[in-house]
Symmetry: C2
Subunit: 347 residues, 2 copies
């Protein structure tokens, strides 16, 4: 492999000139720059990453901690990863992959200067890694929002706003009894922050709109979705609007409705918080609030770069949700529902 010395010799300049010509950190005459660039091209020169890191104390690498636990939504994960990698490359950084179940990984890559910064995905409300993250010697950005964000930089979808958005859309079409088919009992038990914020958003908007909102956790998988529909209709008969924040149960929810002869959206309106790919594999089109993984991943990298640049202080950034499509949204049926009765009274 060619070294910077080879390039300097070929271009007839000193090594520092080559270095500066390549980094742009000091003015170089057009002629010199051209000769350097030519030599670089002819020798196919690439600066040795280790040597550069040693001399400059910057590796130009961001570590990304990815969850591999079963039951995780891989679609979302991949979108985050894609966003992080793409954005990192735009800033001339590479991405090193760490897994969640390598507890020493973050300290190792930080301590060895393998990475300049760390992005951590899938942060829980009371994530056990929080102390370690606060103690890190390199800047870090969390995807997900813990309960206590002191000293931490975080990004996530604004799940509270997502919940409010979903309820608002149902309410303005006249639905008066709605239900949130939410995360599994386990996720709730683990205080999964997104689940709690979603729940609170649904509750708050339901309160503001004066509609009844039942909250039902759903086990992941087909059966979990079917069960959830049973529960909803048993505990709150006449429910006409469903918010499903559990992509693994989504297919089961639709099947459960169909088995009871309930059509979407004629009898029941539906908003899913889910990756679009999953929604696309369903028998009927479903209006979806997507977790914008790419966007969040990119934002995480922007925050990393800001912090590496020196300015920027830890902050929490919540990305505003948007509703895609209205195929599974309609007014509630005019017959049996209380909403219909209310409407008549109002008319």
């Amino acid at each position: 492999m060619a070294t910077i010395d080879d390039v300097a010799r070929a271009a007839g300049v000193s090594v520092s000139t080559v270095s500066y010509a390549l980094s742009g950190k000091r003015p170089i005459s057009a002629a010199t720059r051209a000769r350097v660039e030519r030599a670089v091209r002819e020798l196919d020169y690439h600066a040795h990453a280790g040597a550069r890191a040693l001399a400059s104390s910057r590796s130009d690498v961001i570590a990304l901690v990815v969850p591999f636990r079963p039951g995780i939504n891989v679609q979302i994960i991949m979108q985050f990863v894609g966003g992080v990698v793409t954005a990192a490359r735009e800033h001339d950084h590479d991405v090193l992959l760490l897994t969640q179940d390598d507890p020493t990984g973050m300290a190792r890559v930080a301590g060895s200067s393998t990475a300049d910064a760390i992005v951590v995905m899938d942060i829980g409300s009371d994530d056990p890694r929080l102390p370690a993250l606060r103690a890190l010697t390199v800047p870090c950005v969390l995807i997900g929002v813990p309960d206590d964000t002191t000293g931490l930089a975080c990004v996530d979808l604004d799940f509270g706003a997502a919940g409010r958005l979903a309820v608002r859309e149902l309410a303005r079409r006249g639905h008066r009894r709605i239900a949130l088919v939410g995360a599994s009992q386990e996720e709730i038990a683990q205080h999964a922050n997104y689940a709690l914020r979603m729940r609170d958003g649904v509750r708050a908007q339901a309160g503001a709109e004066g509609v009844d909102a039942l909250l039902v956790p759903a086990a992941p998988g087909f059966a979990g979705g079917v069960d959830a529909v049973d529960k909803v209709l048993a505990q709150q008969p006449g429910t006409t609007g469903l918010v499903v924040h559990n992509e693994a149960a989504l297919g089961g929810v639709l099947a459960g409705l169909e088995r009871r002869g309930l059509r979407v959206p004629e009898d029941v309106s539906l908003v899913a918080v889910s990756p679009v790919d999953i929604a696309a594999a369903l028998p009927v089109p479903v209006s979806t609030i997507e977790v914008p993984g790419m966007r969040i991943g990119r934002t995480a990298v922007e925050m990393v770069m800001a912090r590496l640049g020196g300015d920027a202080v830890p902050e929490t950034r919540l990305v505003t949700p948007a509703l895609l499509g209205d195929e599974s949204l309609a007014a509630p049926p005019v017959t049996v529902t209380r909403a219909a009765a209310d409407d008549r009274v109002g008319a």
Copy 2:
């Protein structure tokens, strides 16, 4: 951050002794080793990755090229990634993530000694990256098998064996008319190697068993699956065995059968080549031949390590498939099928 000098001073030995004590590359007395290890612990010493790479010409990093094109099966991708990262860590290597749509990425990380080796996923039969891969200055291992493997190291599931396995299981239960609902037209057009090998495996085994095998491509998504069922029954009435090698269409295939009143497995037996997670989200249990992503990822890393070790020559390794469960497998119905008629004649 503590340096090796700090450790040497704290332990009262020379830097070379620290280095050797840590690498084990030359014998160190137990007493000295203990003092070094103590100093390392107390100072929380981590060798500077760049300095190490510069001095040793080894970065202890493997680059992994991941496809992010839409329509890709993320479940499988994540499994590959998980296997690669886990295995790499067991060999004290880290994994750097590259995306497919960064065409200069591989040359860059190889040329700058950022990575010691490269693993490339999602290799097509006539992958455009093949020339670049052959020209690489570092060893590389492909996940997927191109048509011409000269000079290349490759790993993949043995899709031919998977096709034969699926047909054998159907045939030995008495099915005489089967169909492969396979990859999409696009994948076939792109000469996706796995699709071709699957097809050939199905054909070969069908020929050997003397059963009729119809080959039908399916567009991904729910509708694609429904369509495929229509095509199968139109082109080959009396089909009782289905091999579905298209996880995105799987839900649609089941729905298509149900709409025609065909039960699984009473009327139609089914074998899916799919990630188990997808199969689990389906309304009925489906016998599955899984692409063992973890295993393949691990194997890729073993091959990388062998090549970094000097021994080992490029080779292609095909992982043997296994069938999980038999819930969607049964004998064909005794009434209308030709299989039943044959049986009676034979009896």
